[in-house]
Symmetry: C2
Subunit: 240 residues, 2 copies
DNA sequence: AGGCGGGGAAACGTCGGATGTCTCGGGTCA
DNA sequence: TGACCCGAGACATCCGACGTTTCCCCGCCT
């Protein structure tokens, strides 16, 4: 095992053992390198990796700190999987995204707060207002779309789920999506689907919320490639 | 943006643009550093990070190569999320794992090959044989458990799903689980649940497979903490 | 007394070179 | 023809020096 790996595993182990806790400031590079028995260069290679993984936060002129280690923070670096995987064949990613977001909608229906529902409603209203303007602010509309989905994800009350959704439905994917959606003028349809999801959430109906979300995402996927992609679209026989 | 970030983004961009393709050998560190306008030390910090993220593979004495960039490879480094998140509260992780594996079972039911089914059957037979022996090889039983779940995940035919499952149901989590399961002598029950899953797969019945998998994982979770954890356990009203 | 700004110490950021270690492949020899 | 040797090439590690940024204390002004 290389020195760099020793550094990475050593720091991770020390964090797990409680030597360093979230928010703590790590010893300076010189001391840390000495205590691990490596040179400062090797230490820095390891810390650089830990920084990109979201485990530590390095601030020039200040010091190195352990992050809060919450799931979204730790899962954020996975966003680049979308870049590489989504290049040729984005279907697998959309399938996973749909699975995650449908579950989030289902869970959120019984957990979301009234405040969050009101906030989501305001977002949709704003989107509707912008859509009426002549020079539509597409950037802002995409912003609202992301915020709307985020509210739902967050209120599923599962940080791991939130992290995965943010990684798989982040800016990279959305950027590609919105170009397609716009070219076919699907803004209105998207808004209606969002409204349907919100309605189900307001009714605190998990199955309805899940189905509305699935319906929305399938619509998005179909504007990318004509046919349903992977299996039977999350078992939309839900009606019984 | 630091030089290290420039290196990371630069290499990622070059891969995305097709300058380097999976399996390609990168230029030697000296040349690469020069072409990016950074010192070799800074370059190495970036490459070290890319290596840990599973994007490149550095081999001493040989060279640096672009990995195959498939989802499991790219998602593998996220396994440590289980270490940090699962420390205090593993419920959120188990919830996500259950969601992922249930979907995998559902998809696999219509896609798994006869060969894979036969292989899975042999694994369960071997586990049953070992369980009868006096000095039970717990390590091997855990090995078989992982292999069984992996066969199902792989035959869902979605590499992204496979990567996530391997990250969230990897050795770390399983190690903790098997200790608990063993202490309460749940080996037999686990085997029966596995057999039920396999039976549903052989019948090519997606809903049955999903439900059997959910039932199995809920059993596992309950041996960790008495009560159902996160919501209604994947809507097991599936009967109807 | 309180607010503001300068300056120095501390810590990370970057660089260059030197040396160690490992892998691969060509050449040699039996 | 096959096994072995060895040297070139490439990554691994270390060291020392200097640049850049941040924080914070101290002194000054109001």
């Amino acid at each position: 095992m290389s020195r760099t790996d020793e550094v990475v595993n050593g720091i991770k182990r020390m964090i797990l053992e409680g030597t360093f806790k979230p928010g703590d400031r790590l010893p300076i590079e010189k001391d840390l390198a000495e205590s691990l028995g490596v040179s400062r260069g090797s230490l820095r290679e390891g810390m650089s990796a830990l920084s990109i993984l979201g485990i530590v936060n390095i601030r020039q002129g200040d010091g190195t700190y352990v992050t809060n280690l919450d799931a979204p923070q730790l899962l954020a670096p996975m966003g680049f999987v979308v870049d590489f995987q989504g290049q040729g064949d984005p279907r697998h990613i959309h399938t996973v995204r749909r699975l995650l977001e449908c579950e989030a909608a289902r869970l959120a229906a019984t957990r979301i707060t009234d405040e969050a529902l009101a906030q989501a409603g305001e977002l949709l209203d704003e989107a509707a207002r912008i859509a009426g303007q002549s020079p539509q602010d597409h950037e802002r509309i995409m912003e609202i779309d992301i915020a709307f989905h985020r509210i739902i994800a967050v209120h599923a009350d599962n940080p791991v789920l939130v992290g995965l959704i943010e990684a798989f439905a982040g800016r990279t994917l959305r950027g590609r999506l919105w170009r397609s959606l716009h070219e076919e003028g699907a803004d209105r349809r998207t808004h209606d689907e969002h409204a349907a999801i919100l309605k189900a959430l307001v009714a605190r109906d998990p199955e309805r919320a899940r189905i509305r979300m699935a319906n929305h995402l399938i619509g998005v996927e179909e504007s990318l490639y004509g046919l349903p992609d992977d299996g039977d679209a999350n078992a939309e026989a839900g009606g019984s």
